[in-house]
């Protein structure tokens, strides 16, 4: 009964979405207030029905209802309760339902927080989101019904892929989808502005907090995915340039460009058309990411059973959304008009350069990701190639380095017109400090690569330039330093924090890349291996039993100067339901570095192959991402968004009274 309720709820949500995607839009074009007024209640209704459907599916998973195909394929009665909940979005069908749920949540959020928007604008925004919702609900109901029944019911479920049985899996998809789907708000605002012909600073101010919020979620989602891969895949990498990772990274790059370009449009009224195009691109890449990951064209943990109908549906949907949006852009954008003028040396120019570099980088990632697929398709499956990490590193580092360098210059440059001598005066110390540390640190450490020098230079450069920008910023205020700092708006603090996050990230990536040590060794009981001042001693394995697996649990003692400082327990698990083997690494996390031990295979009764890694500063990579996301969140709480919205309310009140 419960699955049927879920299915019915989905159908009802689709009906509401169809009305929402058409009537308020038509109402906004023709000025019919009653039609426009429908958009908000319809958004609420959709959220209600989609939430009911989602809860029904969760309920089926919790109760291990193996008469539902989806549950029988992706769960098991032995699976712990929290992973049964996570299994709701562990399958293709469930994850698409999660996508729609996120879309409904964003829609409802827009409906609540954007009441001060002009009626036409809000109706159009919600309508565009409604149309996207129609597409995804149709996709669910026609090709990927999560509530399909199995007759007769299975006696036991297949189990959730053991790789996905990890705390990271509980948080990664919802966060990532919040980000992906969040760009639909920016997209909807862009389309609404094109339709209404109103594309100005106010539009940018409305759209900006939504874009920043989506960007924060996407940052966190990618970060958790990377952390999950590090913990769970057992070979200690944090980024593989896997097509699926690229699928989430491309919208992030374009989203980052969009966040910066929106700032220019809001402050200076410039880059309007460019900003709209970026908003369309960011969401298109989110859709493309969904297509790449869900259509089964890629070999990865994310790709589920291949079904041509699904691939075709998403492809057509993709063509309609992207093609339609670009068509509208081509028709309307020429009439938008130019923005504020600026000189060659100005903050606008620096932000434009940052945008161009980010987009070109995203383009090169797109090329590397799609090229093998295109070649495979064109050659009829005869030419199969793979594009690996060396390609992406060779292209990405030279493109991103100037971008990161400009990050130091942009925040201190004036809008409209800046002077190079002035910039030099402000930044010369920062430049000297970063150059000196890039030259001296490798000397002190006894050599290092050019990559190390470049990475150190960039990390210290952002740090030092940020300090310089803070000094410059508070120079013209009165009072004690902490008072002057407290006076600065939160949006500015958010930017500063996010930029520092990039510095921390670059430092982490550089140091891990240069100084990490990885060794695969054969160890018998009592054998020791020395690495980076630590002695690892293998003390054998014992059999342990988990809730749904059996495992060989190793004991590896870490000694420093002859004293035992740490005991690590890596595991080799065998899951009962699937019989699948899984490596569970034991990681000792520290600010200065991680010690990482995982079990390979048993070689004989007394010895195992063991993987021992030392990863200096690896946590800095994720800490940097957390700082970036926190910076975004801080910017969201800036009071000017709240002030302006009350001000607008007053304005709207005045206009309607008149």
């Amino acid at each position: 009964m419960i699955p049927e309720i879920g299915q019915l709820a989905l159908i009802l949500a689709l009906l509401l979405a169809v009305v929402q995607g058409t009537l308020p839009l038509a109402g906004a074009q023709r000025g019919v207030k009653a039609w426009m007024a429908l958009s908000r209640p319809l958004a609420a209704g959709q959220l209600l029905f989609v939430a009911v459907a989602f809860l029904c599916l969760t309920w089926s998973f919790l109760g291990s209802d193996f008469s539902v195909v989806n549950v029988a394929k992706n769960s098991n009665s032995q699976l712990p309760a929290h992973y049964r909940i996570a299994a709701t979005w562990g399958s293709h069908e469930g994850s698409m339902l999660l996508w729609v749920l996120m879309l409904s949540l964003w829609m409802q959020a827009v409906s609540i927080f954007s009441q001060s928007l002009p009626r036409e604008m809000l109706s159009r925004v919600l309508s565009v989101m409604g149309l996207i919702s129609v597409g995804f609900l149709l996709f669910l109901l026609l090709t990927s019904n999560p509530f399909e029944r199995l007759s007769p019911p299975a006696a036991e479920g297949n189990d959730l892929n053991p790789l996905l049985q990890d705390p990271g899996m509980v948080a990664h998809p919802p966060m990532l989808y919040m980000g992906y789907v969040g760009f639909s708000v920016a997209f909807a605002f862009a389309i609404a502005a094109l339709l209404g012909g109103r594309l100005d600073a106010t539009w940018a101010r409305w759209s900006r907090p939504w874009t920043t919020a989506a960007w924060c979620f996407l940052t966190l989602g990618i970060l958790i995915g990377s952390w999950w891969a590090y913990n769970e895949l057992g070979w200690g990498g944090w980024w593989f340039w896997d097509p699926v990772e690229n699928a989430s990274f491309m919208p992030w790059l374009v989203g980052t460009a969009l966040v910066h370009s929106l700032a220019v449009t809001e402050k200076r009224g410039a880059f309007k058309r460019w900003t709209v195009l970026l908003a369309i691109c960011a969401f298109s890449l989110s859709l493309l990411g969904t297509f790449l990951v869900r259509s089964g064209v890629l070999t990865s943990v994310h790709a589920f059973a291949t079904d041509p109908a699904r691939g075709l549906f998403i492809l057509v949907f993709l063509a309609l959304v992207i093609g339609g949006a670009l068509m509208l852009f081509a028709l309307r954008a020429p009439h938008v008009g130019g923005g504020g003028r600026f000189e060659m040396i100005s903050r606008e120019t620096f932000l434009l350069a940052n945008n161009v570099l980010l987009i070109v980088a995203a383009g090169s990632v797109l090329l590397g990701t799609l090229y093998p697929l295109v070649l495979d398709a064109l050659s009829g499956g005869q030419t199969k190639i793979s594009v690996g990490p060396p390609y992406f590193e060779a292209v990405f580092v030279p493109l991103m380095s100037p971008m990161v360098f400009l990050m130091g210059v942009g925040p201190v440059a004036r809008w409209k017109q800046a002077a190079l001598p002035e910039l030099w005066t402000l930044l010369r110390w920062a430049f000297a400090v970063s150059l000196a540390s890039a030259v001296l640190t490798p000397l002190a450490a006894g050599g290092g690569s050019w990559g190390l020098r470049l990475g150190l230079f960039l990390a210290i450069w952002i740090l030092a330039a940020t300090v310089a920008s803070v000094r410059e910023r508070i120079r013209n205020f009165r009072g004690a330093v902490h008072e002057r700092l407290a006076m600065q708006p939160r949006a500015w603090w958010g930017m500063t924090l996010a930029h520092l996050g990039v510095a921390v990230f670059v430092a982490g990536v550089t140091v891990v890349g240069t100084y990490e040590t990885e060794r695969d060794v054969r160890m018998a009981i009592g054998d020791t291996v020395e690495m980076g001042g630590n002695v690892f001693r293998f003390d054998g394995t014992t059999e342990v039993t988990g809730p749904n697996y059996r495992a060989a649990r190793g004991t590896v003692t870490v000694l420093r100067d002859g004293r035992e400082v740490l005991v690590l327990h890596p595991e080799k698990r065998t899951y009962n339901a699937s019989g699948m083997a899984m490596t569970e690494a034991a990681i000792s996390t520290g600010v200065l570095g991680d010690l990482y031990v995982s079990l390979g295979e048993p070689i004989n009764a007394r010895s195992w192959s063991v993987r021992i890694y030392h990863k200096p500063l690896v946590t800095w990579i994720w800490s940097g991402c957390v700082l970036m996301a926190l910076g975004g969140l801080l910017a969201l709480t800036d009071r000017r968004y709240r002030l302006r919205s009350t001000q607008q309310q007053r304005e709207t009140a005045v206009t309607s009274a008149a």
Binding site: N161, L163, L233, G234, T299, S300, V301, R341, E343, M344, T349, L352, A353, V356, L357, V360, G363, S364, L367, G368, Y371, G381, T383, K384, I385, S386, V387, G388, P390, Y391, A394, V395, P398, L399, D520, V521, R522, S578, G579, M580, A581, M582, T583, G600, E601, I603, S607, S609, R611
Partner: protein, 149 residues
Amino acid sequence: MKARHKRGLLIAAGVVVLAVAAGLVLSAFQKNLVFFFTPSQVVAREVPIGKPFRIGGMVAERSLQREPDGLTVRFVVTDTVKSVPVMYTGILPDLFKEGQGVVAQGKVGDDGVFVATEVLAKHDENYMPPEAAHAVEQAQNAQKTLIGN
């Protein structure tokens, strides 16, 4: 500077960035594209010499041997028609099994042994790497044609 000149300069700068990026992409493609070959192609010596490439197929039953050092393994990858001996030093992925699909990256030596630097994992027990499936399919089609003739 006139607005027209400024715009021209900005566009020129954009074109330069794009040209540099295109150059980077092309040179990186040239150096880093890894082609895929089936065991039959390896045996027929249709593969690049001294350049890394990928092979895929099934791990032949009872072919897995471990050297005394415990870390070097030898196994045979087959497309059910032709087979290639493979050597790998390191820890094999969890889902590596005899009789299952596998993809490996490395170079082939003069002795015809494929020395793998990377053995790629599948993520799911029931999942066959498309490259491995492709290799088996190709080999069987080729054989059918031979018998047909």
